[in-house]
């Protein structure tokens, strides 16, 4: 007699496939790295790095998925990270057309971080992934805080002795990036354990 598997069997199967795809760890590691990179790059002197960083991060997630596909024989995660890269590029660059953002770096930095978070939220909804959703919302919240209440100056501030070489706005972005990166690292270890 054949026994039909239960819904939880299929839920386990889906979890297993996502683990094989590194569908959670790759995005968290890369976006975490992007936010930390944002924190160590002077915004005012090199905003170009910021403009290309986010789209390239989404391209990198897609590329890692394709490499993993060849290595493990399981398709890249659903949700098109290449489309996300294009959308993020258009959205971040379009903001420079508006005086409010072109003249206010704080608002611009916050808005760009929000755009990255929104992209993550949209992709998490496509793959119905609660962890990616939580990560995306955290990034959006950090971007909103920076946009609304962040310090205006985002460059280095090494005058006299201070522990950190950046203002709190940038440190907040770095902290969220570190949190995402560490979470991604932990998830990667557990995903690798999948047969």
């Amino acid at each position: 007699m054949t026994v039909m598997p239960t819904a939880s069997d299929y839920a386990d199967l889906r979890r297993h496939v996502r683990g094989s795809q590194h569908a959670r760890s790759f995005p968290l590691l890369v976006i975490g790295g992007l936010l930390v990179n944002y924190a160590v790059t002077n915004f005012q002197s090199s905003p170009v790095d910021w403009r290309y960083g986010a789209p390239l991060a989404f391209v990198l997630i897609w590329a890692l998925g394709k490499i993993n596909e060849q290595a493990r024989g399981v398709g890249a995660p659903r949700g098109d990270y290449l489309v996300a890269a294009g959308a993020v590029f258009i959205a971040t660059n379009s903001l420079l057309l508006f005086t409010r953002f072109a003249a206010d770096f704080r608002g611009l930095v916050g808005a760009w971080v929000i755009i990255v978070g929104v992209a993550l939220v949209v992709l998490s909804r496509a793959s119905r992934d609660a962890v990616l959703l939580a990560a995306g919302l955290t990034v959006v919240a950090a971007g909103a805080v920076v946009a609304e209440a962040g310090t205006v100056y985002f460059g280095s501030s090494i005058q006299g002795w201070t522990f950190f070489a950046r203002g709190w706005s940038i440190l907040l972005i770095a902290a969220v990036g570190t949190l995402l990166g560490l979470t991604g690292l932990l998830l990667y270890r557990s995903e690798r354990a999948e047969p």
């Binding site: 496939v17 094989s20 024989g73």
Partner: protein, 104 residues
């Protein structure tokens, strides 16, 4: 008689409503595509068993198989087709409907 036709089990598709084939479709739905070795490893199937089920799914237009080589190693990829995705959605809907009848 009408009741019988309305029963959710009438919506089950024999090609889909089989544990192994359903599991293959679930994996492909999630992964988009997967190779033969991954499906075999993940579902704990033999070459012959997996090959037979994939052939059934392919004959029904639910999956698309593509064979190629990587170096000298043959590699077969399975991809869920649009009718396959629809068939899986219909199957899951029918299963849910059946469970609803039992109030679960």
């Amino acid at each position: 008689m009408t009741d019988d036709l309305d029963h959710p089990t009438a919506d089950f598709d024999d090609a889909v409503h089989q544990p192994t084939r359903l599991a293959i479709l679930v994996v492909l739905h999630e992964a988009g595509r997967a190779d033969f070795a991954y499906l075999k490893r993940t579902l704990g199937l033999t070459d012959g068993n997996l090959g037979r089920h994939l052939a059934t799914l392919e004959d029904n237009g639910l999956v698309e198989l593509s064979k190629g080589f990587e170096g000298r190693r043959p590699r077969t990829w399975a991809r869920l087709t649009r009718p396959g995705r629809r068939a899986l959605d219909d199957e899951l809907r029918a299963m849910r409907s059946l469970l609803d009848r039992f109030g679960r």
